[in-house]
Subunit: 230 residues, 2 copies
DNA sequence: TATAGTTAGCTGTGATCACAGATGTCAATC
DNA sequence: GATTGACATCTGTGATCACAGCTAACTATA
């Protein structure tokens, strides 16, 4: 034992395919990709300044998670959800994200709760500016900040998988939300406030209820928009 | 409209990397790989009779799902679970697999219920022969037959992800189970029977309770074995 | 004999190339 | 003028190669 335990920071070995994966995942979670959008490996490789190799591994992963679909010899597409799959995913989101909010309420300290509140306020302010991109990104930040507090990496992973499929399914509805400000527009902020309050007060079941109410109402709104004739 | 809608069966395009992935996934779910086992890309490629290419994409996917871990320049290993991660995964398994059993009880018809019962009997008979491999494979068949009945592809996907990490963590305990036949040995078959009965009688909440009891008791047994000095 | 330094042999990662399959354009045909 | 067929082009897939990093065995040193 000659070395005095320098405790050097572990060198993170980040491969290019991980970077590519992370970039595409964030794009999906933030709603920057809409169902039907098409991509190609060569395109993405050029954008990232790499060869096709890392990109295709990222795409393989995402298509395994069904966040993207590979059309043989025809490119990559952000998939549309069937009604069955959409319903299935909503049910699981309600279950898991509700649970995550409950755990967050159990673990959050006052500083963390305050931070969550600020993120919620940021979403609302982006909405007032009708800034679609800002709302989507802010929402993602707000929600995942809560799920981080749940201190369950495995649950976080599952929620990410569900949301990568769910978020693109919802962006069209959010666009309508910002343009038309229908009844759900106000309810949404009320639900966010209830979640923030329950977390601040350490009320797990209240947080779960508020989150689940928010998701159910949002689902209803998304379905309503989707049923409209184009 | 000249073609009379032949409704030709869709040609399933199965790529080599999918086959490699599927093979490794089944090996993990059936408990044929134990924590600490090491693999290499070139080894696997030779076994499969392909180049490294399809194998590495399969490994990339599995390491993304944390079912395998890639040690840079040192091969691939079936990871050990930390206590935190193991606890995390158990909680989610209890939640999701319980829910899946409830849904199976809601949907199963008598023929399907009978089939589930046969699979449970097969596990028990393999156990009487102390056939580790048979128990592991049979158990996997039994459980996934139930989860198929839940008719929720998304839930099935999440359960697979959790089990790929959880099963290797448990094989050592199952080996002890077959060798020593401790108290849990009998309880286990009673729990299986309760699950089968609840599904046959269409009792969702009974099926959930029985499954969750089984998982909790199994977790306790696994932890007990792990705490033993080697 | 014990230890430090070197080297040879592995590993996964990334780049490049060859190829089969799908698509859409465009000309030849009825 | 509508329909069919061929062809050029673009796609993901798989193979092969080059490379840097880590190990472990080996050798030279004290």
């Amino acid at each position: 034992m000659s070395t005095p335990a320098l405790a050097l920071p572990r060198i993170a070995r980040v491969t290019l395919n991980e970077k590519a994966y992370e970039g595409l995942k964030q794009a999906l979670l933030a709603g920057r990709l809409e169902p039907g959008s098409t991509l190609t490996l060569r395109q993405l490789a050029e954008q990232l300044g790499t060869s096709m190799m890392p990109v295709r591994e990222a795409i393989t992963r995402l298509s395994a998670e069904q966040a993207l679909a590979v059309l043989p010899n025809r490119g990559i597409v952000v998939p549309e959800l069937s009604d069955d799959d959409a319903g299935d995913i909503w049910e699981l989101r309600i279950k898991l994200e509700g649970e995550a909010c409950a755990r967050a309420a159990r673990h959050a300290d006052p500083a963390q709760a305050r931070h969550i509140g600020q993120l919620a306020a940021a979403v609302e302010s982006a909405a007032r500016r009708a800034d679609l991109h800002g709302v989507l990104a802010g929402n993602s930040d707000f929600q995942f900040a809560i799920y981080e507090l749940a201190a369950s990496p495995v649950m976080l992973q599952l929620i990410e998988i569900l949301r990568m499929r769910s978020v693109p399914h919802c962006t069209a509805a959010i666009r309508v939300l910002l343009a038309e400000r229908p009844p759900y527009y106000a309810r949404s902020w009320a639900n966010h406030a209830a979640i923030v309050a329950a977390i601040a007060n350490g009320e797990p079941s209240g947080a779960r209820r508020a989150k689940q109410r928010d998701l159910r109402e949002f689902r209803a709104f998304v379905n309503e928009v989707r049923r409209r004739p184009r």
